[in-house]
């Protein structure tokens, strides 16, 4: 994080809607030029937060600073600030007029001359690949095209901050790829600061410099994608980032950052700075668990024997559930399943390295 003034900063931002706290204690800092992804499941408050950042709604508490200025209150200041940003809503609507007029609206409202609008729109229409559609009624377009009109309408105003709410929700994979490519182009060409909300973690990974995990109205963790993905800071976060094996236990011993964690009837070795006696969650990603038919074929420190409870094959990979005193899920290739003749009821050895275990202190 740079020391320069953040373009957006929020302090203790909260929003209460219909008697429910939809957002709590949001302290966010977005630096100029960065691409920040707000990741969270549906209903976690992403849209509400974006609406507050775009100054469409007023917060119940806390403040929003834009480029160092508190813009929470003054109506005039809110309008002026809003004109330095653009927001593409989750379900974008187009106005009942031509594609060209749709995209021109934001510029007209800013008092731009007709000639300047034309030259700006030529460039933008080209960029979103809608040059041939300029005269067409925007209501006649497909979902992906509507999304591109909405993005074009937003970038035409050359915003300092572009807010995108689930830009590819409800789109087919081809349209999704096109929109992601368009966003990448915008990032490269305009160096716009982007705040995007998505429930798709891989999208956040593909597009964002930094991610913020929003869960149940609170930002639980912000940081580099890898950091958030590999070292979630709470059980909820671990669940959300897709850690399938979360085993509760107590640290029995700790030596040189290697701990042994006692679970109900097993012991797991892990790398952690936790002290003996601490209650922890041991998180192991399913892709870190390897399977073998004999105990000696692995160098991993944690090896458990168990019986296969279930195998679910999806495309080239298989999810193997093993009952080894606790439930352990391993992600292996379909080919491995065939080669090892894995099937329900078969006895296997599941192993994972001590470094593959991420340890979270229990609250």
């Amino acid at each position: 994080m740079s020391n320069a003034q953040p373009i957006i900063k929020t302090t203790d931002l909260g929003q209460r809607l219909n008697g429910r706290d939809v957002l709590r204690n949001i302290n966010l800092r977005i630096d100029r030029g960065e691409v920040f992804a707000l990741i969270g499941p549906t209903g976690s408050g992403k849209t509400t937060l974006l609406r507050l950042l775009d100054l469409i709604d007023s917060p119940s508490q806390g403040k929003v600073y834009f480029d160092g200025t508190d813009v929470t209150e003054s109506v005039r200041q809110r309008l002026e600030t809003r004109r330095r940003m653009a927001f593409v809503l989750q379900k974008p609507v187009v106005f009942n007029t031509s594609v060209y007029e749709n995209i021109a609206y934001g510029l007209k409202w800013r008092g731009m001359s007709r000639d300047n609008i034309r030259s700006r729109l030529d460039e933008v229409l080209e960029m979103v690949d809608l040059a041939d559609f300029r005269k067409r009624n925007a209501r006649m377009l497909s979902g992906g095209e509507v999304q591109r009109v909405a993005i074009a309408r937003a970038i035409a105003t050359e915003p300092e901050v572009l807010l995108l709410d689930e830009p590819t929700a409800n789109l087919d994979p081809v349209s999704t790829a096109k929109i992601e490519e368009l966003i990448t182009n915008i990032i490269q060409r305009y160096h716009t600061t982007i705040v995007m909300a998505t429930h798709d973690m891989s999208q956040g990974q593909r597009l964002a410099d930094r991610v913020g995990m929003l869960l149940d109205g609170e930002i639980l963790q912000t940081g580099d994608w890898r950091e958030v993905f590999n070292t979630p800071q709470s059980r909820e976060m671990a669940n959300f980032v897709g850690v399938e094996n979360i085993i509760d236990g107590v640290v029995q011993s700790s030596e040189n950052n290697v701990v042994t964690i006692g679970t109900d009837d097993s012991v797991i070795e892990a790398v952690s700075d936790c002290a003996a006696g601490e209650q922890v969650h041991a998180c192991i990603r399913s892709e870190e668990v390897t399977l073998a038919l004999s105990r000696h074929s692995t160098s991993a420190r944690n090896t458990f024997s168990g019986e296969i409870a279930r195998i679910i094959t999806t495309g080239p990979v298989a999810r193997v559930e093993i009952d080894c005193g606790f439930r352990l899920v391993a992600l292996v290739t379909k080919r491995s399943v065939e080669e090892m003749a894995l099937e329900t009821g078969k006895q296997v050895y599941a192993s994972f390295k001590a470094t593959a275990v991420h340890v979270i202190r229990q609250d």
Binding site: F87, L89, P92, F95
Partner: protein
């Protein structure tokens, strides 16, 4: 039945021969109705927008009252305007009673609730996201309201069509405050009423058919506009 047929042939005859008196009456009816609708629209469109875009105490009740006034009897408005414009009334000094302005004032009052109410309904029918999109694109409140009105234009036009239908067909008000003065305040509806009472059924029917024809032409024109 023969009267209907005779009325129809007479109507054709009067229209084809461009009978001066009939043309004058029809023209006057059209002029009164159009003027009233334009004035009412100039008042009702902003009024409807203001009511829609602002939240205030009693808004729901106000909308209910406006909607109730859709069906106010024309004679009730006539009576109100009569009292207002009669010599001893508050606006008696204007000398408008039994003159075209009296009819237009009455008709404007008659359709303001219809156009206002239907404007509110039309604006409420526009997706809330349209307003959010406009605001997010940097529209001021006025700019957003203008856009929303544009988006609701077809539904608003439907309100204008309803309003026009109401004024071109009303008789009670024109009779009470216009006085059905030949060559001055006589409209198609008051003429029909008079001719019927005189027993001139053919002429009355002919005028009725002309009235329906005018309403049809106006509706077709406005519908064409809607479909654009």
């Amino acid at each position: 039945m023969t009267e209907l047929w005779d009325g129809f042939t007479k109507a054709i005859e009067l229209i084809v021969s461009l009978d001066p008196e009939v043309m004058q009456i029809a023209g006057r009816s059209l002029a009164f109705a159009a003027t009233s609708c334009v004035i009412a629209a100039l008042i009702s469109l902003p009024l409807g927008s203001i009511i829609h875009f602002n939240n205030f105490f009693g808004k729901r009740l106000l909308i209910n009252v406006i909607q109730t006034l859709y069906s106010v009897p024309t004679v009730a408005v006539g009576l109100f305007v009569y009292v207002l414009l009669s010599r001893s009334g508050p606006l008696g000094g204007l000398g408008f009673l039994f003159s075209p302005p009296a009819i237009i004032i009455g008709q404007v009052l008659l359709v303001i609730p219809i156009i206002t109410g239907l404007t509110i309904t039309a604006l409420s029918g526009v997706d809330r996201t349209v307003t959010d999109t406009a605001i997010s694109l940097g529209a001021s409140r006025f700019q957003a309201a203008t856009l929303l009105t544009r988006e609701a234009r077809f539904a608003i036009l439907a309100g204008l069509i309803m309003g026009f239908g109401r004024v071109i067909s009303e008789v009670g008000l024109s009779l009470m405050v216009g006085g059905n003065i030949s060559g001055f305040t006589r409209t198609l509806t008051t003429a029909i009423s008079l001719e019927t009472s005189k027993g001139e059924l053919e002429l009355a029917l002919a005028l009725g058919i002309i009235l329906i024809a005018i309403a049809l032409v106006v509706n077709i024109t406005l519908n064409r506009l809607q479909q654009r």
